[in-house]
């Protein structure tokens, strides 16, 4: 199947991925993503009826450790590289509400 990716699709995906693309980037990615997806069509067309998906190469199960507290990063260390901190917490711009 030939993949057709419209600029509107690209803009939608960019929104989902929290990326802000310039108009020329939208054009470029539309053609490049279509090219890669065309190449991927080779596997998209394979008959995989009844084949179980592999999410992980190892037969690993949930790995649990004893529920005993162990020391981690101190609050000071955890906050030390944040762009903005206030009262011992990460500070972010406004999440809810109207434009100021």
């Amino acid at each position: 199947m030939a993949a057709r990716i419209s600029p509107a699709d690209v803009a939608h995906v960019a929104r989902l991925a929290r990326l802000e693309l310039a108009p020329e980037e939208v054009e470029l990615y539309a053609s490049q993503l279509a090219q890669v997806l065309d190449y991927a069509a080779e596997v998209a067309a394979l008959d995989t009826e009844g084949v179980a998906p592999t999410a992980h190469p190892l037969p690993v199960r949930n790995v649990l450790r004893p529920d005993v507290p162990v020391p981690g990063l101190s609050r000071e260390e955890a906050l030390s590289q944040a762009p903005e901190v206030e009262e011992g917490q990460f500070r972010v711009p406004r999440i809810l509400g109207e434009e100021p």
Binding site: L16, A41, Q81
Partner: protein
């Protein structure tokens, strides 16, 4: 340039024949001379290396054994966390970030006596095959500076090839240790998934990422792998088993081993004729050394690349969601949080990283999930089954590591798919979680090195390094 092996250097330091400080100074002098042209490093940690080497010497003076890698300079790919040393992943989005902890592979190598001399350049977040996707400019191949060193561990491969360090650590998601090792004429080893802890390796595609060694000899690579391998409670995907003992396998030869040459990767379109010729010479040489060599069809290897370029970007799009300008790294000021996320991520990520996030987000998005991501996961199962059938008849498999020798800078940057094809031989064993090793074997176009890839089933490192060591001895 004939340089001592890492193991020879360690031996000399442990016996007091040479001082670790002198060994480090010698390597730093080579860095100073050639680094301006090569640009293998994002950071050269000269002062820290001198201090660490002095501690190694002090331990020797006290009659202690600093470990099997005593005083050996070690270059670290800059996606491995180092406490107190900036770790950038060659991305603007991590500008200024200094990790508060060491990756397990790093702390184990240091505990074995290795001396960290710097952090090496990579394709941003390990996404690329040429080290040209670095926010800090490309690394050049020390053997021919108009050419790329491969990638994404191009800085680590170049550092070893240029004699900046006898040992380096890289990471391999779809070939990022093996392909640059091949293009720079050094040895690169991707362990079985889970043999080395991923704790402190900045995540790209978590079901594929593995840390592994680059070195000038198979013996040195094995020594570094033995130092870093083994279970780590901090990585729930690390295998709960002791590190494999491999040094003893190196001299065992290949007598009686069944080795299959993968037809699909020997004759694939785009494999340079000289690379194909070296593969057949390598197979003949192994047969001459007593191995039972035959051709084998592993049809699903041909689906590796398209499956990989759906699965790895999908995992990346999820992993890279953490770069949001809140807890560390870059933040662009905006009045509300969504526009802050978008502005920060758009300014912080380079074009290839954005392309992969877009591709992965698309493959996971409603309406396309099953056709792309789900299908690629089912094809991953077919690849594992295809390998399993081949390993019923063979102990190890052989292919080229890369389809061509090192290519000129800029020659593939405009065409992402052409760049992705650099990984055609390496991705299948990554998807299967199997170990694979690249060993230099002769030269191809332009007198540049060709790498031969030795693959083995999960935890088949012992047989893989036997074949690798034999190839190293047999190489022209």
């Amino acid at each position: 340039m004939t340089l001592p092996t890492a193991l020879d250097l360690a031996q000399a330091v442990r016996t007091g024949e040479r001082s670790a400080v002198e060994v480090v100074e010698e390597h730093l002098a080579r860095v100073e001379e050639a680094e301006p042209e090569v640009h293998a490093f994002n950071l050269v940690a000269g002062e820290e290396a001198r201090a660490a080497a002095a501690q190694v010497d002090a331990r020797v003076a006290r009659g202690e054994d600093p470990g099997p890698l005593a005083g050996v300079p070690l270059a670290l790919k800059d996606n491995l966390c180092t406490r107190g040393l900036p770790t950038t992943c060659s991305s603007r989005i991590l500008a200024g970030w200094v990790p508060p902890y060491d990756a397990t592979a790093v702390s184990r190598a240091v505990r074995s006596g290795a001396v960290v001399i710097g952090k090496t350049n990579l394709d941003e977040f390990a996404m690329g095959s040429s080290t040209e996707n670095s926010a800090f400019g490309p690394t050049r191949n020390p053997l021919d500076p108009i050419r790329v060193p491969g990638g994404s561990s191009g800085g680590s491969a170049a550092a070893v090839a240029a004699g900046f360090a006898p040992l380096a650590l890289g990471s391999d998601t779809g070939g990022s240790i093996r392909q640059p090792a091949a293009l720079c004429g050094v040895v690169g080893l991707k362990p079985t998934y889970g043999v080395v802890s991923r704790y402190g390796l900045v995540a790209f595609a978590s079901s594929l990422d593995q840390v592994g060694p680059l070195a000038r000899t198979v013996g040195d690579a094995v020594a570094l792998l033995e130092a870093i391998a083994g279970h780590d409670p901090a990585d729930s995907t690390s295998l709960d088993r002791p590190a494999p003992a491999l040094s003893g396998c190196l001299a065992q030869g290949v007598e009686g081993l069944r080795i299959g040459v993968i037809q699909e990767l020997a004759g694939v379109e785009g494999i340079a004729p000289e690379v194909g010729a070296r593969l057949h010479e390598a197979a003949d040489a192994l047969a001459g050394a007593g191995a039972k060599v035959d051709e084998v069809s592993v049809p699903a290897t041909m689906w590796g690349l398209p499956a990989y370029y759906l699965l790895a970007p999908a995992e990346a799009s999820s992993n890279l969601a953490r770069y949001d300008g809140v807890r560390y790294g870059l933040r662009l000021a905006r009045p509300d949080i969504t526009s802050m996320y978008e502005a920060t991520r758009s300014a912080g990520f380079g074009p290839e990283v954005k392309r992969r996030i877009m591709l992965g987000t698309f493959a996971l998005s409603a309406g396309y999930y099953d056709a792309y991501y789900g299908q690629a996961q089912r094809v991953r199962t077919l690849i594992i089954e295809s390998f399993a059938a081949a390993y019923e008849r063979f102990d190890a498999l052989l292919s080229p590591t890369a389809p061509t020798t090192a290519f000129p800078l800029g020659s593939r940057t405009a065409d992402p798919l052409a760049m992705y094809l650099s990984d055609v031989c390496t991705v299948a064993s990554s998807l299967a979680g199997h170990p694979a090793l690249s060993v230099p074997f002769g030269t191809g176009e332009g007198g540049l090195p060709v790498g031969i890839q030795v693959m083995a089933p999960a935890l088949g490192e012992p047989v893989m390094v036997r074949v690798g060591a034999a190839l190293e001895d047999l190489a022209p």
